[in-house]
């Protein structure tokens, strides 16, 4: 359970995020959509205690994230390339993250073996540093690294961007599996409405830092989102 209360972030006079209340129950696959500057990454950064809230707080499984660091063992994230260590190979990177999360090499090997299809022979055994991989392959490595160490909360910012179609479809299966079968809370942001409605049980639309829609996904959701973002949204 992730509880957000009175959370706001202001830079100078510019309020970039303002969420009165948002509760994400355990095991939910939660989607965050919104145009550029809507506050998606800001929210995730606050959740990871990478920036300080101006007001309010987030409580992640009974731990207030800006007060204690105890949320770290069960929370993992891939936000952008700054979560990769460019001068390591993919394997070295996985093992390093594994060590930070208390996993030995064998544990990590077992986990990444499950993602053989997802990697499509482009990640493991490449003898290449992460910095020399293509953007899409970097992303694959980053996403899988976020699954190491049995996290209960996984945060993925724009996971579908830069991925090829095959990998996008595989990633959707992975995310669904995490939430439905393993009871992991997955937070995903995306610009791709189709993917996010496919994957997430619940979708929240942010606009200029505020929640403007909070939808339980149904077959009508995609239409509603498309209407919203094309500006033809009818106020009921």
């Amino acid at each position: 359970m992730i509880t957000t209360s009175n959370l706001s972030k202001t830079y100078g006079n510019n309020q970039v995020l303002n969420i009165d209340s948002l509760n994400i129950p355990k095991g939910q696959s939660f989607g965050l959509v919104g145009n550029n500057g809507a506050g998606k990454t800001t929210y995730f950064s606050l959740l990871l205690d990478l920036i300080q809230p101006t007001t309010g707080h987030i409580i992640n499984h009974n731990i207030q994230v800006n007060k204690s660091e105890d949320w770290k063992p069960f929370t993992s994230a891939f936000i952008d390339e700054s979560f990769l260590i460019g001068y390591l190979t993919a394997e070295e990177y996985f093992y390093f993250i594994g060590e930070l999360r208390g996993q030995n090499k064998a544990d990590v090997d077992t986990l990444i073996a499950q993602f053989k299809d997802f990697f499509h022979d482009e990640i493991l055994g490449q003898k290449k540093y992460l910095r020399d991989l293509s953007k899409g392959n970097q992303k694959k490595a980053g996403i899988v690294a976020a699954l190491i160490g049995n996290p209960e909360v996984i945060i993925l910012d724009e996971p579908f961007a830069n991925l090829d179609p095959t990998t996008q479809i595989r990633l959707k299966d992975i995310i669904k599996d995490l939430a439905q079968k393993q009871g992991i809370t997955v937070l995903v942001s995306s610009h791709d409405l189709l993917h996010v409605t496919d994957v997430c049980e619940r979708i929240v639309v942010l606009e200029k830092g505020e929640i403007v829609k909070d939808l339980a996904t149904s077959h009508a959701t995609l239409k509603e989102l498309e209407a919203h973002f094309s500006g033809t949204d009818v106020v009921l």
Partner: protein
């Protein structure tokens, strides 16, 4: 690297100022300007080697320009023009200008000195472009340093065996230019020539799949199992070692080890310095602490590109910092041991180095780690290393004072008032105190880092 550049500038400037009196002293019956000219050939050779290993054509900057409506010729001219403004071309000015000014003061004809200085600057630019020609041929060969070695050694050989007395020819040429200014047109023509060759070479290569291609090296991995002996900090130590070994910017720290180690030879071979025991400690601190200074001054900016990852992971900050501490302490130990042969110049030197090494381990490591907590400058590891000031801020300069000046000051005062041995002892005791309070100090330093966590994340996120 900031230190390195400043050190070079100061040394060159000092050499420029001292050139006239020095040449006057060693060659009392000769004209200093002519003597200087006669040695120019060796400078040319040294400069070529130096440039080859450190200077690269800034060709990557043109990528964004390629798709803009700018003609390729203009882009090539821009790259070549930019290379002329490199630090390597300014460095010789620190010798040329003060030496030239001294010559004018000493009553040499102003016009001829100015023409002579101009000729030297043109030679520097010729070397600049000549280096890129050599490099472009090196890129194609298997042993990339072969061409430069070939060129330089054959030039040296031709001169040494008097087949072609290049040394004299160059010297006489310069003498002639300062006597007959019109002759400066010859080096200018050569400059135009090498520029043109460069232009041609670069014009052909300005495509994404040739000159602008990033070369991807195959990785060779080692598991660094020995770091396991250090317990909890092992993962960070492995990361740090890979960081140092696999990035251009950090690799220079390794070469700097050699410079630091040999630094004492510059001084101890001169009786003037050998007679100044209070100066030994400075060399001791510098030569055992060169890695400490080079690597330490950019903690934690080395990890700036993935700092967000580290901060969102379940890491013990203290272990992270301890790994850096351990590396620095090890480097001090190794450098001290390798420096033991200095005992050849006297046991006092060894004693002073020993005291300096202990001081480095006990005090300077902690000081530099503490300084890192105020570090707000990002470093891009993928960029070339030499004379890259990215990440250099006021902190890097200010930290030099306690690091080098303080121990030397303490030592000098004690030396003059009490004596050499006591001064060594007290310096060593200071170091031991630091080692004894290591745990406490690390706790304090860690707290400082945690305090500035958000500021660091924010700063490392900026593209300055």
């Amino acid at each position: 690297m900031g230190f390195m550049a400043l050190w070079l500038m100061v040394t060159f400037f000092g050499a420029g100022l001292g050139m006239y009196p020095m040449l006057k002293k060693f060659f009392p019956n000769q004209n200093p300007q002519l003597v200087f000219n006669s040695f120019l050939f060796f400078w040319v050779l040294g400069d070529l080697v130096f440039r080859f290993f450190l200077q690269k054509l800034p060709v990557m900057i043109v990528k964004p320009l390629l798709v803009l409506p700018i003609s390729r010729n203009k882009i090539v001219n821009y790259v070549l023009g930019k290379s002329a403004l490199s630090f390597f071309n300014f460095l010789p000015l620190f010798v040329i200008v003060p030496f030239g000014v001294t010559l004018i003061i000493e009553g040499y004809p102003i016009i001829s000195v100015i023409v002579w200085m101009l000729a030297l600057i043109i030679i520097v630019l010729i070397l600049n472009f000549l280096n890129f020609i050599i490099e472009s041929f090196s890129a194609e060969s298997e042993l990339s340093f072969l061409p430069v070695i070939l060129v330089v050694s054959s030039l040296f050989g031709l001169n040494y065996f008097n087949i072609l007395p290049l040394n004299k020819m160059l010297g006489n040429g310069l003498n002639a230019i300062s006597e007959t200014p019109v002759l400066i047109s010859i080096p200018i023509l050569v400059l135009v020539g090498v520029y043109f060759v460069n232009f041609k070479l670069l014009r052909q290569k300005l495509f994404l799949d040739s000159g602008l291609k990033k070369d991807i090296k195959e990785v060779s991995t080692s598991n660094l199992e020995w770091t396991r002996n250090f317990g909890n900090i092992a993962p960070f130590m492995q990361l740090d070692l890979k960081l140092i070994w696999r990035n251009k910017r950090t690799k220079t720290s390794i070469w700097m080890l050699a410079i630091g180690l040999l630094y004492g030879l510059f001084f101890y071979t001169q009786p003037t310095y050998l007679a100044m025991p209070w100066f030994y400690v400075f060399i001791g601190v510098f030569s055992t602490g060169i890695f400490l200074i080079n690597f330490g001054q950019f903690i934690p900016a080395w990890d700036s590109s993935y700092y967000k990852l580290l901060m969102s992971q379940n890491i013990k900050y203290e272990d992270y910092l301890k790994s850096k501490f351990t590396l620095m302490a090890l480097s001090i130990l190794i450098l001290f041991v390798l420096g033991i042969p200095y005992v050849f110049f006297g046991w006092k030197i060894l004693l002073a180095h020993f005291a300096a090494a202990i001081y480095n381990v006990g005090i300077n490591t902690h000081v530099i780690l503490l300084g890192g907590a105020f570090n707000r400058k990002k470093i891009d590891l993928n960029q070339k290393a030499a004379f890259n000031y990215q990440g250099t801020g006021a902190v890097q300069w200010l930290i030099g004072i306690p690091l080098l000046i303080l121990p030397m000051g303490i030592f000098a005062v004690l030396y003059f008032f009490i004596g050499f041995e006591i001064a060594c002892l007290i310096l060593a005791i200071l170091g031991v105190i630091g080692i004894v309070f290591h745990q406490k100090l690390m706790k304090m330093i860690t707290a400082k880092y945690l305090e500035s966590k958000y500021k660091m994340i924010d700063a490392f996120n900026q593209n300055n």
